[in-house]
């Protein structure tokens, strides 16, 4: 390579880029009906489909993103491949010089799409979620007969065309006995450079739209001690990673609500509402990119992506007021290890600053396994936490 050119693979946040991350949820509809899903609507939901962003609207958002220096978009859902215009949207992003991360169940990977992804590569490794290693287990989760064979066919097409992808699991009762089989298969995928990750502390319905489904999701969550057993299957590796992580990211964060990356990127839902992240759907925190709104419009329509970014940057100033949060979460050194965040709080409780007991229990179980906490201690009571995590 000459002195004039530098090769790089990590430019999601290039120098000067104003928009470091863009996620677009192309649809909430999915061809699976997974028992644990926090967002999916039926594939044939006409009302949802009618409300979805049009092709031109998605392309307009991508155009704005390119102007803001965005180098990567994540297409997710629902199942993004349900969109009949997926290829068009994919190519639009790629022709703008934007890399495309695809989250999919792979069921709708056709030979034609696999050929396209081979010819015009997404430049980011796609991510395929796996719900089981056999039709019985997979379809006990997806609740769609025939979905397993379609998933396998899709994955085989990606392999055959050399389209890079990794797999990740959703750990559920029907497939918990298949972990070793799943990991052995995953290790044969050329782009898997580490064991697959798992979802196991499932989010409640992001839109707080289905309490019956929430009851089901709660029942599917791995109990905290079993979650720890799963996380610590490679104990030395886990301990090393957590110790390193603790030194960099852990510690009480006071009453600051958004201590994460919110405000550095934009997530756009299927209907054109910009959110600080894919999980934050509290209406008061979202910005409508399509219809006129207070954040300032573009061409008489909704707000611009730039306006949404500005609005989200202000979230860093938001403070918790819930006394229970202030007593516990604000003083808890497990912040970072714990998945508690405004999005999860809102999904569980309808407000941004309420402790999520399940997540608290999982974090405490991890900390006890690591020896950072005694059996009867709570992390918010510990003063000398730095000494414990080193």
């Amino acid at each position: 390579m000459s002195d004039f050119v530098r090769r790089t693979t990590r430019l999601e946040r290039p120098i000067g880029s104003r928009l470091g991350r863009l996620d677009i949820e192309l649809t909430e509809r999915c061809d699976n009906d997974c028992i644990h899903c926090c967002i999916n609507l039926p594939a044939g939901d006409r009302e949802a489909r009618a409300r979805e962003l049009t092709t031109a609207q998605v392309e307009g958002i991508l155009d704005q993103a390119a102007e803001l220096g965005c180098l990567q978009v994540r297409y997710t859902g629902g199942e993004p491949l349900l969109r009949p215009d997926f290829e068009e949207l994919y190519l639009h992003a790629r022709r703008l010089g934007i890399k495309v991360l695809i989250f999919t169940n792979a069921r709708r990977i056709t030979p034609e799409l696999a050929d396209l992804l081979a010819r015009v590569p997404p430049l980011v490794t796609a991510e395929v979620t796996v719900y089981g290693m056999h039709a019985e287990s997979y379809e006990a989760v997806s609740r769609v007969p025939g979905s397993y064979s379609q998933f396998r066919r899709g994955v085989d097409l990606l392999l055959d065309r050399g389209v890079p992808f990794v797999v990740k699991g959703a750990l559920l009762p029907a497939n918990r006995g298949e972990v070793e089989e799943f990991e052995a298969w995953a290790a044969t995928i050329p782009w898997m450079d580490k064991p697959p990750s798992y979802a196991m502390t499932f989010d409640l319905r992001n839109r707080r739209d289905d309490e019956r489904k929430n009851e089901l999701i709660r029942s599917l969550r791995l109990p905290p001690d079993e979650a720890v057993a799963m996380l610590t299957r490679r104990p030395e590796e886990y301990r090393r990673e957590m110790t390193e992580f603790a030194g960099r990211f852990m510690g009480p964060q006071g009453d600051v609500l958004f201590a994460c990356g919110a405000g550095h990127g934009v997530s756009v839902d299927a209907y054109g509402r910009a959110q600080p992240c894919m999980g934050v759907r509290a209406p008061e925190l979202t910005v409508d990119l399509i219809r006129a709104c207070a954040a300032g419009g573009a061409d008489g329509g909704g707000a611009t992506l730039a306006a949404a970014l500005e609005a989200f940057a202000a979230l860093r100033e938001l403070r918790a007021t819930n006394p229970e949060y202030l007593r516990r979460c604000a003083r808890c050194f497990l912040k970072g290890l714990c998945e508690q965040c405004p999005a999860k709080s809102w999904a569980e409780h309808g407000r941004l600053d309420t402790p999520v007991e399940y997540l608290c229990a999982v974090a405490h179980a991890q900390a006890r396994w690591l020896g950072w906490l005694g059996a009867d201690e709570y992390a918010w009571e510990v003063v000398d936490w730095r000494a414990r995590v080193t």
Binding site: S2, F4, T8, L11, P14, V120
Partner: protein
């Protein structure tokens, strides 16, 4: 392709890449497979590379490009010509530039 690039060659960015300028930086994003050595490779240019790239418009010869760049950087023309040739040859070999007559 490399051997075809001379100072008389006229080059233009290939349609197989997308060149983006973000806050003054040129970032070259492959559009089709086979440009980079890895699946997810992008390219950035340094100041001199950008000065060369900005002049590869399908009109100027590499000799003309070199003369302009030498003027801009107040550098010996012969050295700049060698740099421009090396740059263009490498980029053409990777399919990032199309080398014409």
């Amino acid at each position: 392709m490399t051997s075809e690039v001379t100072l008389q060659t006229v080059c233009v960015p290939s349609e197989d890449v997308v060149a983006r300028e973000i806050e003054g930086e040129i970032i070259i994003v492959p559009l089709v497979a086979g440009i980079g050595d890895a699946d997810d490779e992008l390219y950035t240019l340094n100041e001199t590379g950008k000065a060369i790239w900005d002049r590869l418009d399908g009109q100027r010869s590499l000799a003309a490009v070199a003369a302009e760049v030498a003027g801009e950087f107040d550098a010996p023309p012969a050295a700049i010509e060698a740099d421009v040739l090396g740059f263009a040859a490498e980029m053409a070999q990777r399919g990032i530039l199309t080398a014409g007559a």
